[in-house]
Amino acid sequence: MSKIHVTTTINGDPAEFLCEAGDSLLDVLRDRLSLTGSKEGCGTGDCGACSVTVDGRLVCSCLVLGAEVEGRSVETIEGMAEGETLHPLQRKFIEHAALQCGICTPGILVAARSLLERNPDPTEEEVRYWLAGNLCRCTGYDKIIRAVLAAAAEMREAS
């Protein structure tokens, strides 16, 4: 079977790739485009480690086909910082020690940014429910929630 040619935008840059019909977007990102920041923890949409946005919508990239992003705009963890400048969420995660092993961190950061774009002033409960699709086994979530709330506060002040 012939491969599918896909033209898309990833983190603002034009990108082209060939993929099999069955390749997930996560496979494409990791194996064809060398963007290994998105992680595969389950492959079934249960852990959120592969979270990216497609046209601004938060998705598990393991549940999206690579061929589906034709003409779309994909944002991954690799596009979160602007050059040397970390996104406030990234900075707050370091300041608050909101990661231990760090494997869930890219997905959680992408998901949290997506929340703050919709709701710049979330409550603790709103953060907890928004991130309920992102599993972390190390932290018990405490410092993650604090880091997201702190980043939200800083971003509100800056805007």
């Binding site: 920041g37 923890g41 389950c42 079934t44 309920a132 018990g140 604090r146």
Partner: protein, 749 residues
């Protein structure tokens, strides 16, 4: 140079230890740059996949790989026939677990593997491998496996501690304790007898096992993998493949969680063998289903407890008989369960008996304080029930019986300075203890103990020509240890934290290092780091003495500089580290300190946990409302990451108590091999987890450090169960406390 090598914690003002600087690997880990097990690739690499048994127990009559080998794109197929014999029993079991021999012993047991040019070709090849199985009767429950007549996994593995007439699935018996149980029970006002059961849980690291192997025909090999101990991987793979250890270089990737589950090998020997046969690098990555079916969950158990207590709360005797199944091979952590069950208490009469049992389940792997949470669940539940029965304060009862410095531990040794009493008193004084509770809400407490370990450790500290420092150590950074090591090195050298960079070396760069386990890294690698820094300081003092033309004993190290002392004090201005480094070539050559040790003196650690829950009387669902951890850290090097360990252990324990369990069907296959049905706690399940760090210095570490990683998972199972009992008025003795079980108990109240 004069150095106080004794512990100086109490009199010392730390400048860096105890602060909260950013971790050095932080930016890599928030930008996606950090490379984990599955993030590496090599030119020409093949994809390796494993064929797994669909049967819980089956004789492998034949394996025909010819059709798979003939498939275009397949470069190697491996079965057990490719591996030679391994003499050492535990390593032979590891090989058998990585690739089944005569029998498949559990659902998911590896029976063959392929390496092919793509995932699709490899999957197709797996379907072409023809395995002829003869299914055998199976057993997955610990009590059923011990019964005479149970299906037997292995003949002839039972050791001399097991009485005759028991099932061959019973591998060994252990016993600990002192005093006279019956005499102690006779003095009690009440003797409580209960049987508790816990189901197996998985460590649940988010990163599946992954590796990339490259092996040449000359026997030299390189291996990249996610592991808690790449030296262990090297030694184990070398033994299994018949390689010399020095020929196999293993590099540890960043590790996406381990919790004990990455202290052994699963894919690595197979990947090396595939690479050897194919003559190309081979990458293998497990699926989540493979992780749950075929890598280490912890033991499941049934435990009988008898405890006698006087009406004023003194425990007169404690007895527990623990039965743990550790999956298809010997080695459940029942010995550590039996040792730790009553470890928090000062008891005149105490005895524990442990039985190690095999069943048709995946081989257990260590899980954070292996064996201890299960035992603590039983004992702490029983103590709580007795205290409640007498109308006594459960914290007071624990204080009344608490082990202290000088107490003879239930497992033998006499305790040095320990912090249990401090955790209990702090808990009693904490506002959480007296906060009001609403309807259907309850509060529970429990204590926990863990031994902590030290072990073989090797560290090299190099002073660069510009005066910055590279610290090379051999233990994967699983939760911030690079930061802790840099902090201890900077503290000892008297230089800023950001002048030290800590690097995790491959196995070719340092001597043997024990696995990142036993809560050992901050203790043992920290100790070695401090000693390596002291060695470098001695050398730098020697260099300064040489420049100054004075005796080296007349030079001291203070605030990052060599200073003349004694009769020469003030004679020369202090020579800073970077000044000494800059002229090192002219004073004798490069400057480094190193230290190698089998670290002893890891201080035991204790915690008390307090948890509020609300039980929904209509559904049986349990909500955790408030949680506070009180734990002795000896000395918290980086308090953020100490708190993180406390919080993470509590969260895992909450999952074990409420949600997580291995569910086996009638056919012996695992029914819930995914994160949807094997449900670990998510953010909306938990409250903030408050922490109180106590610091009772460990006399065995220069800064007083104790390991903190494991103790925090020991109390929560019982603390949650005690809280649910307080909230609902019913006491459950089987974990997990899933809604159907809780609801049934409430309805039969």
């Amino acid at each position: 140079m004069a150095l106080d090598s004794k512990q100086d914690t109490n009199k010392r003002d730390f400048k860096i230890v105890g602060t909260r600087p950013p971790r050095p690997d932080g930016i890599d880990k928030v930008t996606g740059r950090a490379r984990y097990g599955a993030d590496m690739s090599a030119p020409g690499m093949l994809v390796g996949l494993v064929l797994r048994s669909p049967h819980a127990h089956a004789r492998i009559k034949s394996i025909d790989t010819s059709r798979a080998e003939a498939l275009t794109g397949v470069h190697a197929v491996v079965t057990r026939a490719d591996f030679g014999d391994v003499e050492d029993g535990a390593t032979a079991d590891t090989l058998d677990n990585c690739m089944a021999g005569a029998k498949a012993l559990y659902d998911g047991h590896a029976v063959a593997a392929v390496a092919a040019t793509s995932d699709a070709v490899a999957k197709q090849a797996l379907k072409l491998i023809e395995v002829e199985y003869e299914p055998l009767p199976h057993v997955t429950d610990v009590d059923e496996a011990m019964a005479p007549g149970a299906p037997v996994l292995h003949e002839g593995r039972t050791n001399e501690t097991v009485p005759q007439g028991m099932s061959a699935n019973v591998i060994s018996r252990c016993q600990f304790g002192h005093g006279d149980i019956e005499a102690g029970l006779a003095k009690a006002d009440r003797v409580l007898e209960r049987t508790y059961r816990t189901e197996a849980t998985h460590q649940g690291y988010i990163e599946p096992h992954a590796c990339l192997a490259s092996m040449g025909s000359d026997g030299q090999a390189d291996l990249w993998c996610c592991t808690q101990g790449h030296y262990m991987v090297r030694n184990t793979c070398a033994a299994i493949l018949g390689l010399e250890q020095g020929k196999l270089r293993v590099t540890a990737s960043e590790i996406g969680g381990g919790f004990g589950g990455k202290t052994t090998v699963f894919l690595e020997p197979v990947a090396l063998m595939l690479s050897k046969k194919a003559g190309r690098p081979v990458k293998m990555v497990m699926t989540r289903s493979e992780v749950l079916r075929a890598t280490g969950p912890t033991a499941s158990s049934s435990i009988d407890v008898r405890i006698g207590m006087t009406k004023d709360g003194r425990i007169t005797a404690g007895f527990a008989e623990l039965r743990y199944q550790g999956g298809a091979y010997p080695g459940s952590p029942v010995d550590m369960g039996a040792m730790s069950a009553f470890a928090p208490y000062d008891l005149e009469n105490v005895r524990t008996i442990g039985w190690d049992v095999v069943t048709n389940r995946p081989r257990q792997a260590a899980y954070r304080a292996p064996g201890a949470p299960i035992a603590a669940f039983a004992v702490e539940s029983a103590i709580d029930e007795l205290a409640k029965g007498f109308g006594l304060d459960p914290l007071e009862v624990r204080l009344k019986n608490a082990a202290r410095e000088g107490t003879r531990a239930s497992y033998g040794p006499t305790y040095r300075a320990i912090g249990l009493e401090a955790t209990l008193r702090t808990a009693k004084d904490h506002p959480h203890w007296t906060a009001p509770l609403g309807p259907n809400q309850g509060r529970g407490v429990a204590c926990g103990f863990w031994f902590n370990f030290g072990g073989d450790t090797c560290v090299s500290l190099n002073i660069t020509p510009d005066g910055t420092v590279t610290l090379t150590e051999g233990n994967p950074d699983i939760g911030g240890s690079r930061a802790s090591m840099s902090m201890m090195a900077a503290e000892e050298l008297g230089i800023p934290y950001d002048k030290v960079r800590t690097v995790i070396a491959d196995t070719g760069s340092l001597g043997q290092n024990e696995v990142t386990d036993g809560s050992r890294v901050t203790f043992a690698v920290g100790l070695a780091t401090i000693e390596a820094a002291r060695a470098a300081k001695r050398e730098m003092c020697r260099r300064a003495a040489k420049v100054w033309g004075i005796d080296e004993d007349a030079v001291v190290w203070e605030d990052g500089a060599a200073k003349p002392s004694g009769p020469n004090a003030g004679e020369f201005p202090p020579m800073k580290l970077e000044e000494i480094a800059a002229i090192a070539s002219n004073t004798g050559g490069p400057i480094a300190g190193h230290f190698e040790v089998n670290a002893e003196g890891a201080g035991v650690s204790f915690a008390t946990h307090m948890v509020d829950t609300e039980v929904d009387p209509e559904t049986g669902a349990v909500k955790v409302l408030r949680y506070t951890v009180f734990q002795d850290a000896g000395k918290a090097v980086h308090p953020d990451y100490v708190e993180g360990q406390f919080q993470g252990g509590a969260a895992q324990g909450i999952g074990w108590a409420l949600n997580e369990e291995y569910v086996y069907g009638e056919d012996g296959t695992l029914q819930n091999p995914g994160f949807l049905d094997y449900r670990i706690p998510v953010a909306s399940d938990l409250p903030m987890i408050d922490t109180v760090i106590l610091e009772i210095p460990n006399p065995g570490h220069p800064y007083g450090v104790r390991g903190v990683g494991e103790t925090s998972i020991v109390p929560p199972l019982a603390a949650v169960a005690n809280s649910v009992s307080d909230a609902s008025g019913v006491r459950l003795a089987d974990l997990p406390l899933s809604p159907p079980k809780v609801l049934a108990a409430i309805r039969s109240r």
